[in-house]
């Protein structure tokens, strides 16, 4: 197991390198630069000076090598948009916010989703199945940019229980976590139900039942183990997405998280910031997919040795 983790982490290095390279050149191919504005720089000399300051005047290959060199020592460079901050600083400041929101949302997603999915799978095609599944589908239909404003209108503006925006108090976590977690909960519920139904018709469950194990034990011990496989596979990238921040939710609730930097950097052509956030996200994805693989092996011992 430790060997597997070690080698996977080792293999992450070329993967990150490939991602960095593709992103770097994709970015430079995209029209518009960090200094393009509605009122563009009138004097070409000034633009040249500015580009020289940020090293944009060098040939692309030199810029690329310089970028890689700095990356090796973990320096992502200065942000173009936030002119007196480095990308490292911005990420260090914004990631914990997004991660916190992500973890609360994950809690909502798993709490609601697993419960609903399992309840639904006990008696398929009954009232117990239809109710949670209908709710889940409504959850999928109502995207975050609709759910967020509705929650704010009801709970902030009408009932005045929470603030309409901001990230200062504990109460400020509630609505964003419900908004973001709600969508994922719907997915988890659907996938759990599907996975459980799949597993419950398997032979070993029948064996367990035949041996006289209690229904709850069958469901929780044997059913959940196999039934969670699709959920776990889904959760890898989902958790990476959750904790690296959601642009929509962070915008709606005015949360200073990483999700906004991720999207805004692309729109601003903030080259260094795009590289930084992309690589950070990539590392998260790789780590979480590794975690998923480990959990899958743990859930299904037959996978060991592959």
């Amino acid at each position: 197991m430790w060997k597997l983790i070690f080698f996977r982490l080792l293999k992450a290095i070329p993967v990150l390198l490939v991602i960095a390279t593709i992103t770097f050149f994709m970015l430079r191919l995209t029209p518009g630069g960090p200094f393009d504005r509605e009122k563009p720089i009138k004097d070409p000399e000034i633009k040249k000076q500015l580009e020289a300051h940020y090293g944009l005047d060098k040939p692309l290959s030199a810029q690329y090598l310089e970028f890689l060199g700095k990356l090796m020592v973990g320096d992502l460079g200065p942000s173009f948009k936030h002119s007196n901050r480095t990308v490292n600083e911005v990420i260090v400041k914004a990631f914990p916010v997004s991660a916190e929101l992500g973890l609360w949302s994950l809690l909502v997603a798993l709490g609601l989703g697993l419960t609903a999915g399992m309840i639904a799978s006990i008696r398929p095609n009954s009232f117990l199945d239809y109710t949670p599944m209908t709710l889940a589908m409504v959850g999928i239909c109502v995207p975050t940019f609709v759910m967020g404003p509705i929650l704010i209108l009801v709970f902030s503006l009408k009932l005045e229980w929470f603030n309409a925006s901001g990230w200062d108090q504990w109460a400020d976590r509630v609505l964003p976590a419900l908004t973001l977690g709600g969508v994922y909960a719907a997915y988890v519920a659907r996938l759990t139900r599907g996975g459980m139904l799949e597993v419950m018709s398997q032979d070993y469950i029948r064996t367990a039942r035949a041996k006289g194990a209690s229904e709850a034990r069958v469901l929780l011990k044997h059913g959940l183990r196999g039934g969670l496989m699709p959920v776990v596979a889904f959760l890898g990238p989902a958790v990476a997405g959750l904790i690296s921040g959601s642009f929509v939710v962070e915008t709606i609730f005015q949360i200073p998280g990483l999700g906004r930097h991720f999207v805004e950097a692309a729109f601003n052509r903030d080259y260094t910031m795009v590289m930084g956030t992309v690589l950070f996200f990539a590392a998260l994805i790789i780590l979480l997919n590794l975690l998923v693989d480990i959990i899958q092996v743990w859930l299904n011992p037959r996978l060991r040795g592959t």
């Binding site: 300051h53 200065p78 936030h82 002119s83 901001g166």
Partner: protein
Amino acid sequence: MFHRFIVPVLVCLMLGCGKSSTSKKSDNPSVHPQILNLGNGAEPEGLDPHVVTGVPEHNVLVALIEGLVGEDPKDLHPVPGVAERWENSEDGLVWTFHLRSNARWSTGDTVTAQDFVLSYKRMLSPKLASQYAYMLHVVKNAKEFNAGKIKDFSRVGFEAVDEHTLKITLAGPTPYFLSLLNHYSWFPVHIPTVKKYGPVDSPNNPWTRPGNFVGNGPFVLDKWEVNDVIVVKKSPTYWDKAKVSLKEINFKPISSAEVEERAFRSGQIHVSNTIPLNKIDVYRKKNPQDLRLDPYLGVYFYRLNVTEPPLDNKKVRQALGLAIDRESLVRNVLRGADKPTTFFTPPDTGGYTYNGGPKISFDPDRASRLLAEAGYPQGKGFPKLKLLYNTSEAHQRIAEAIQQMWQNNLKVQIELTNEEWKVYLNTQQKMEYQVSRAGWIGDYNDPNTFLDMWLTGGGNNYTGFANEKFDQLIASASQESDSQKRFSLFGKAEEILLDEMPIIPIYHYTSKYLASPKVKGWHPTILNHHPYKHVSIKPGD
């Protein structure tokens, strides 16, 4: 199920919004006496007045730094700032500013004439590559120094006569010179502080961080959290601190108008940066005291690429201009907030209002006649025209409405294309468009900022428009010191512009925002400037 679940929620929302918007929370903990919460649109890119370029940056900077002159809170005319008084020479070329002796930096140092000279030297240094350095080009030799042609700064028209006297020599008579001084590019910085945190001419010098920042304005920088808040607190060293009522200002960078409006409604901000179009009618009806629609120094227009057929034909351009029903567009699409216009420079820009010849008000019959004269009777044979705009809901609505007007009135086919902001800028600059949506906000309160962009080969022209007569008129206006004569030159130039029509003016901007009646001293001004030292919050409410 969807029905049963969502409909009641929506119904309760609709019933609820009326009530809660009238009874605003007054016990909100974030609303404290003399703490002003402002919606500031976007996150400022920086706070170095010699580097930044935007409006959100301006809003914060004027709290932190004071220039030579200040602005009157009602009509923005120049009032004493760091300079107590000033005089202008007979020929209008030499300005002498007498600085007050009690002006202080937040370190306690006196603000001296030398500070200004060094600041301007920094602003103009080629290595800093300041994008607004051209605002200083009215000064003798400033342009040359900025371009690196002159290395010796003493030849540039800035001179510290003594500690409290600053002499500025201009390159030509500039009647609007004093109004330039309110722009942050003319603000002084504390050079020793800048040097302490990095090279003086580096655009990303961290001296602007909280803790490092030194200014001379009514407030000092206290906190700066990206995408969250910038907090400034009343300065103990400001010379006029007795006049400053506010204890603290929180600038909140809320980029979505919908989010900002909800924050305003719940009492989290006192003044918003903007308001969603569809909310204008709601506030008109229910909370008119909160709604502010102030004329603003900007114009919304369409650029036409005059270098390619069919738009190289003047009659086609005029036909397009005449076929837009601006009244209907503004009333119905923009909810009557902006001012429909048939000319370019906003009315009363530095005292100038266009009142010349060709009017391009809505006239569909004349429009289709012109199009027929151009060889496209009833739009026959007219190629499909592409209308470019950057993606935004308002631009899209306007483009859709104008598309319909052109199709109905001229029987021509229009194709809409939206592009992401930077791609759109790129397309426009390379002139790879036919019709392109544009906007222009004046840099200073003078018609020059609206008209000199249409000079042949001008940096912001992008239409291919080139007219010798126009160029001459603008050039003579820049040498004219009598304002009436100057305005008549501008008028003639604008008449040429409107007749040739490389651009179709659509409406003049209005600052649309929400402001709580509790905020006092927040007057409507054409630049949407609100000097904070005159602002206060009505106590006991």
